[in-house]
């Protein structure tokens, strides 16, 4: 399979901090690529660069064959973004939100009307279509956020923690939807902290830590290489068990409260 996303020494610095450190990565056409890493490892920053939201400090990348800096506009046409921070206007209804974003992709109102209806039906929100999104539950809002990224039928979909903060029913719904979209031929870059989810959905997994790619393989390949039963064990083995952004070990509650 041919790669649709390729990065060469892609780097992003914020002042003295290197968030993404010379990563070389390729995502193949038609795969679900699980992009994993502890908090602050550089996942979101890397995705922001690949989706043209942020310019790299060094290195290059192509998405669908287009350069993310010099051909940003072409990249934008073929990618869809399901961001971690939901991209919805809370005061507007689902239909108003989707019509607006759809028009930004040059779709006509007539074309969009049917598509929005169908997409809302797909995520089972048709009876809430005219309610302000601010009044939705987290699960409903996330479903609007997901179809927002699908309006222009993108080839490549970036999904940043699409199941965070959802109930088990919504999580199941979103996972099935991801499988369905992948069957439809879409390449999906997925970030998540739920290891079983990554295991279930991804064809290949890339693990990033401290801005560097430390492993890329299939879930089964990773497990056998590291010699672990579950992906979670692989992850902890590779990235360590210590809490991020902390210098000391965990102090038990009974000591904190002076009971000992």
């Amino acid at each position: 399979m041919e790669p649709v996303i390729e990065t060469q020494e892609l780097t992003k610095r914020f002042g003295g901090l290197t968030a993404v450190d010379h990563i070389n990565l390729s995502v193949l056409k038609g795969e679900v690529f699980g992009f994993l890493g502890p908090n602050g490892a550089g996942k979101t920053t890397a995705i922001r660069m690949l989706t043209t939201l942020s310019e790299p400090s060094e290195g290059t990348a192509t998405v669908g064959g287009y350069d993310i800096v010099t051909q940003a506009e072409q990249v934008r046409r073929i990618i869809g973004l399901v961001a971690e921070k939901l991209i919805v206007y809370p005061r507007l209804s689902a239909v108003e939100n989707l019509m607006f974003f759809g028009e930004l992709y040059g779709l006509s109102r007539r074309q969009l009307k049917d598509r929005v209806e169908n997409l809302l039906r797909m995520v089972q929100l048709e009876q809430f279509r005219d309610m302000p999104v601010g009044g939705y539950s987290s699960g409903m809002r996330q479903r609007v956020n997901i179809v927002r990224g699908l309006l222009h039928d993108p080839e490549i979909l970036f999904m940043d923690e699409p199941t965070a903060l959802l109930d088990p029913q919504s999580i199941r719904f979103v996972r099935d939807l991801i499988k369905d979209l992948n069957h439809d031929g879409k390449t999906i870059v997925l970030t998540t902290h739920i290891m079983e989810e990554a295991d279930e959905l991804s064809h290949r997994i890339g693990i990033i830590d401290h801005g560097k790619i430390i492993a890329v393989d299939t879930p089964a390949g990773l497990k056998s290489k590291i010699g672990c039963e579950t992906l979670e064990e692989v992850f902890l083995e590779l990235t360590g068990r210590a809490l991020r952004d902390s210098a000391s070990n965990r102090v038990p509650m009974r000591i904190v409260m002076g009971r000992i």
Binding site: R76, A83, E103
Partner: protein, 395 residues
């Protein structure tokens, strides 16, 4: 182009759904007008005749038109100039006709005109009261009435000196008013009816609301979208980034114009304000005022890390501007260095032009200087702002 309007439309739709915001948005201009309208006096108190005049204004430019070539008229004109310059109140300039002087008032070079009309000497010689006519720049009633008071006091001084000398060689045929006051002063307005403080405040507040409303509205809107994440949804779409900026500016301008409309409506209905000039020029001036500021708002918002900082930055800009640009108080009351700062702010020119259009029925050529300053401001600030915004959005 369509996308720009679509973004503006989305912003206005979003705004129209915020009920509380809509209420505050309408009440704000009503409150501003009522508070300031009543806080300041209808017109300044003119100085009683004392021979000495105390005034916040010095060396105010006034025209003197002597239409009578008689010796008495020339004598009075000389005395007027002498007293005006010795007290340092007025800086008297000679003009050939009232028309020429009026043009200079509208162009902004003069604060008023004193006319010694034809027949002045003849009236005096035939022992009738000889009248002097004074016309003020009524865009600023508070200041106009104070300066009017000064000018008329000077004539009262001249008049009483004459009166005294006349009484000493009293003639039985003279009438009483002539004896007590051989020279009287009347005020002649540039426009047909008298002006009031609201006439001064309304255009200023309209300019202020449009400009500051757009500034803070834009800052809040961009910062909010950045924070809530929806800005990413627009940036990730295949549209030029300037379309986002311009679309949002359009929406805020529309809001500002609606507020200005509310102010004008209230001023006309409740405070007796009249529009003498062309409504088209009025709208044009306000639009230019907004454009001149949009750039500054975009730059501030692009630099500010989050909404609260953006709003504080806007407050920091707006507050001094309100007092330095002659919107609430005539800037002539300020020390020179503060006046110079005020005259560097685009709001000064927007308010000035709007006032001339509304109160003095100024034509496009009369406000040309204001228009040029505003266009230059807009071009420079937007020229800087759009790249700054693009840079900020790809951090």
């Amino acid at each position: 182009m369509y996308i720009t309007f679509r973004i503006a439309h989305k912003d206005l739709l979003d705004f129209s759904k915020a009920k509380m915001l809509l209420v505050t948005f309408t009440v704000m201009p009503i409150m501003l007008m009522s508070l300031f309208g009543f806080m300041f006096p209808q017109a300044g108190t003119s100085n009683p005749f004392s021979g000495k005049v105390s005034s916040p204004y010095k060396n105010v430019p006034m025209a003197l038109v002597v239409e009578d070539s008689g010796s008495f008229a020339l004598l009075v004109a000389d005395q007027f100039k002498e007293i005006a310059s010795s007290t340092g109140l007025l800086e008297v300039q000679d003009f050939a006709s009232f028309g020429a002087a009026k043009e200079r008032i509208v162009a902004g070079g003069l604060r008023g005109v004193v006319v010694i009309p034809g027949g002045f000497t003849e009236a005096f010689n035939s022992r009738r009261q000889a009248a002097v006519l004074i016309t003020m720049d009524d865009t600023n009633p508070t200041m106009a009435s104070i300066i009017y008071g000064e000018a008329s006091s000077i004539f009262m001084m001249i008049s009483s000196r004459l009166g005294a000398s006349l009484i000493s060689k009293m003639e039985s045929s003279a009438d009483l008013s002539f004896l007590s006051e051989p020279i009287s002063v009347e005020r002649r307005n540039l426009v047909s009816s008298t002006t009031n403080t609201f006439q001064f405040l309304a255009p200023g507040f309209m300019a202020l609301t449009v400009v500051t409303g757009t500034l803070s509205g834009l800052a809040a809107a961009i910062a909010r979208e950045k924070e809530q994440g929806t800005m990413d949804g627009m940036i990730v779409a295949p549209i030029p980034r300037y379309a986002i900026v311009i679309g949002k500016t359009l929406a805020q301008t529309a809001r500002g114009m609606i507020q200005a409309g509310v102010i004008l409506g209230i001023s006309i209905l409740f405070f007796g304000v009249k529009i003498y000039g062309s409504p088209f020029l009025m709208v044009l001036t306000m639009l230019l005022g907004v454009t001149s500021f949009a750039g500054i708002g975009i730059i501030a918002t692009s630099i500010a890390p989050e909404q609260e900082t953006a709003m504080m930055m806007m407050m920091l800009l707006q507050f001094p501007m309100m007092f330095l640009s002659g919107v609430v108080l005539p800037i002539e009351q300020l020390p020179n260095w503060l006046q110079s700062i005020g005259k560097m702010l685009p709001l000064y020119y927007a308010a000035d032009a709007l006032r001339k259009v509304i109160v003095l029925s100024a034509s496009f050529t009369d406000i040309l200087l204001d228009v040029i300053v505003l266009i230059v401001y807009a071009a420079v600030t937007l020229g800087v702002a759009i790249p700054v915004f693009q840079k900020a959005m790809s951090r």
